[in-house]
């Protein structure tokens, strides 16, 4: 029984566009990972609590509403509080470069914007999980 990469895909906030999140979840599944999907409208607290109970290696957050700075940062802070910066933390959405820098400084390991391929994300996870901070 080999270790499978476990990933939590989460939609924090009120954004209801989950096409990207669902497509990525399916792509990760097809790459042999076990993917927990949270569904819509989650608070950062719920996301982190689920990630810890599920003992995931990776958290992928998606928001297209422009609320990413506040919501994503809060997830990073909560992981810091729980001393779980070993979890690979990724974000996706319409995220300008300036915000990307802010989020990377807060502890994100990767930010993916429109046009990123599923393959790139799979590869990124395979190469970087477990090596975070």
């Amino acid at each position: 029984m080999g270790k499978k990469i476990r990933v939590l895909i989460a939609k924090p906030g009120l954004d209801g566009h989950d096409r990207g999140a669902r497509v990525i979840a399916q792509a990760l599944r097809d790459a042999g990972m076990e993917v927990v999907y949270t569904g819509l409208r989650r608070t950062p607290e719920q996301v982190v609590s689920a990630a810890l109970q599920e003992d995931v290696d990776v958290i992928g957050l998606s928001s297209l509403s422009g609320a990413h700075i506040g919501l994503f940062s809060r997830v990073a802070e909560l992981l810091m509080e729980k001393k779980r910066t070993d979890i690979l933390l990724l974000g996706g959405g319409i995220i300008p470069d300036k915000d990307r820098e802010v989020l990377m400084a807060k502890g994100f390991d990767g930010i993916f914007t429109p046009g990123t391929t599923m393959k790139e994300i799979v590869t990124f996870i395979e190469e970087n999980r477990g090596t975070a901070k």
Partner: protein, 325 residues
Amino acid sequence: MNKPDLLAQGIQAGDEQALARGLSVVENREEGWEALLERLYPESRRGFVLGVTGPPGGGKSTLVKRLVEEFRKEGVTVGVLAVDPTSPFSGGALLGDRTRMMDLAGKEGVFIRSMASRGALGGLNPGINDAVLLMEAFGSEVVIIETVGVGQAEIAITEVADMVVVVLVPGQGDEVQALKGGLLEIADLFVINKSDRGGAEELEIHLQWAVAGHEARLGRRPPIVKTAAIKGEGLGELCAGLREHRQRAAETALDEERSRRRADLALRAHLEERIGAAFLTPLLAAEEWHEAIERIARREISPGKSARRLLRKNFPDVWRCTRED
């Protein structure tokens, strides 16, 4: 202290993160998994293990969520193992049951864990037994295992349970199929969920007939409860049904029977796993395995004969025991 001891101590102290990690350790058979189980086994209390299964689309996750809320009202701590099928193509899995239970996340006294069925040989995730044990050690008084009841493998998982609730919904047209598939045999209680939909009465009558027809054979007559989990209707009756079953089980030695069955299953799972690891796994990686496959594929040798040859060569003692003559 070494890692298994630390984890065990954390789990027994009610540390969520220790339980989360421990579940991964036993599920992945990571280093120290056996030590962890050994350390926890003698000290863990026996919890009430409730299996919830049924065809897809029955609203099982919502029902489980409502049940958890009911248990919590009474101060009972609950662990949930939500099992989803592993993709036979990629080995990955989409674990979606948690979606319905997200507002339970972070609530005190509730621990939810999604598991993939990962059925390599035969379908049963051998980790499920051990996961239950860990949750019991953590202090969960009730452990709910939620599975999709579509095949034998999923049904087998509920054999771990002290009680099995089968969830059906009206109008899906597959309930008859589901009963034929073995759900009738394992049910201790039927739930007709989404009973506010048309067709609930017909399904109830159909079920009553099926249950009555099998009463003599099964030696019991599982009750039928109607719910509408989204609206929270029928939960009182369902909880009463669970209580009754527990009481009767305690009075009639059904409990002991179930404990023995669970022990039997656990022992078998561990044995099969070890036999597999000791005999099969090295063979699967060997050159002669691939050669045999090539030859069978070319129809140069039958699979049975090939298996006998492999046995004779690698495990002559076993071969001698299984010889037909």
